[in-house]
Amino acid sequence: MGLRGGRWAAGALAVVLLAGCGSGFPRDPEGTLERVRGGELRAGVVESPPWTEVPDSGRPSGIEVDLVEDFARRLDAEVVWVPGSESHLIRSLESGELDVVAAGLTETAPWEKHAALTRPHTEIATPDGRTEKMVLATRLGENGFLTELETFLVEREERS
């Protein structure tokens, strides 16, 4: 890289640092975290017991449902549950109609091009001796929101 490249990089660094001096860091390109805080957390849910259970009427329940409800309380937000099929909900996540999807997903779910999978919230041993790591899915690139959620997950790990 020539010297010109260096000056470009230095300039870009300055712009980035100035832009970063606004609100929290990391920031969401689409402002998910700011919108959810004190507002609505739009959560997709796919029937996948024991992680999620979706009754014909009334609120969903399950381990991941409780997790998302806990996280929403931390943000002072109300959860709006949207039931649906996995691929459908992931597409909604991609287009920004949802903020998070709880579907009993594992770390190896084939959605990494379409959604940001969180760090594992639970690890379980399968009958054939492997370890499955359970994750939630969030919208790609919304790193402020992802960081808030994962910080919540780490703190929860530390408590237990």
Partner: protein, 327 residues
């Protein structure tokens, strides 16, 4: 590879004690480089996550292993004496090593430019979340920034040290390697800017930084390929940094012309890697034929100019052969 002063050589060219020490130092520096790179590659892989810029930086660091390896192999092979099957010696190993490294850079540079460019066009948004450092949640971006900051320093220092040795040894692989190392801080800075850009909510910053870095890899590849091919295609020798024609070409010609029995002289010279092979065409003053002693003395005068010149062939001719020494 142990090199005591008396044994160090490039083919049939004995190296002076000073040069042998320089070569030893270069070998040592390249080993340190490889060691540092292995640590760098491991650290960057651990924190890379899904950032395109980090991925590109990691590949660049892995590719930076090639030139030092090429140098070490070439330096070892170039030390062999000429044999009946390799009468010119093994100096060309330097050129071959250079070519291999250049092609690898070029191929990887092209791949990365396409990969990063498509990420920018399709608007890929890299997720960077949280790493748990002993139970404390830390944004992974900070770890990437720290890793890039730390791993950018050693190559710059090593690059500057190797640059001096490359000139002394006339070693173009060493030069290419030092040049790439010296530019490493820019790669680091661009990657840091990309990651901080993601943090600032500028999703394109990462892909843009990756594009910048991969363009520099591509440019390194093109420059090195040109140099390596020119060397292997017997182009006129250039200085160690390819900045211009090597002054020795002119100097040898001048030395030959200064012989009292010489009316005119021209040389053609090629860079075998480290050392030059010289063919000199001399036209004696009209009506005389040079003696063997005169020819031997002229050859010695040429060889005394520089350690790189030892393989000198002189041909007395009636007039300068235009097709062998084009003007």
């Amino acid at each position: 590879m142990t090199r005591s002063g008396a044994q160090a050589r490039f083919g049939s060219t004995e190296l002076s004690d000073g040069q042998a020490r320089t070569l030893g130092r270069a070998v040592r520096l390249e080993r340190i480089t490889i060691g540092t790179l292995l640590v760098t590659v491991t650290v960057v892989a651990l924190v890379a996550g899904q950032s395109q810029a980090m991925k590109v930086a990691w590949i660049e660091d892995s590719l930076s292993l090639l030139p030092p390896v090429a140098f070490l192999v070439a330096a070892r092979i170039a030390g062999r004496r000429p044999t009946p099957s390799h009468p010119y010696g093994y100096h060309r190993s330097v050129g071959v090593g250079h070519l291999v490294a250049a092609v690898a850079l070029l191929a990887m540079g092209t791949f990365l430019v396409v990969d990063s460019g498509s990420g920018l066009i399709t608007g890929e948004r890299p997720p960077i979340g949280v790493t748990s450092l002993f139970g404390v949640p830390v944004w992974s971006g900070w770890l990437m920034v720290a890793a890039m900051g730390l791993t950018s320093i050693p190559p710059v220092v090593l690059g500057r040290m190797k640059m001096k040795l490359a000139e002394e040894l006339h070693d173009k692989v060493l030069y290419a390697d030092a040049d790439m190392n010296k530019a490493d801080w820019m790669t680091g800075l661009a990657t840091v800017a990309g990651v901080l850009g993601i943090g600032a909510g500028l999703w394109w910053a990462d892909a843009a930084a990756a594009l910048l870095v991969s363009t520099s890899i591509l440019r390194d590849g093109v420059a090195n390929l040109k140099g390596a091919v020119a060397g292997l295609a017997d182009a006129r020798p250039t200085t160690y940094d390819d900045a211009g024609p090597h002054p020795l070409v002119q100097q040898v010609e001048t030395v030959l012309r200064q012989q009292p029995w010489v009316r005119d002289a021209a040389v053609r010279m090629r860079d075998e890697g480290h050392v030059f092979h010289v063919e000199g065409f001399v036209v004696p003053v009209a009506g005389t034929t040079p003696t063997l002693e005169q020819l031997a003395a002229a050859r010695k005068r040429c060889a005394d100019l520089d350690w790189k010149i030892e393989d000198v062939v002189l041909a007395p001719v009636a007039e300068l052969p235009e097709h062998q020494v084009p003007r």
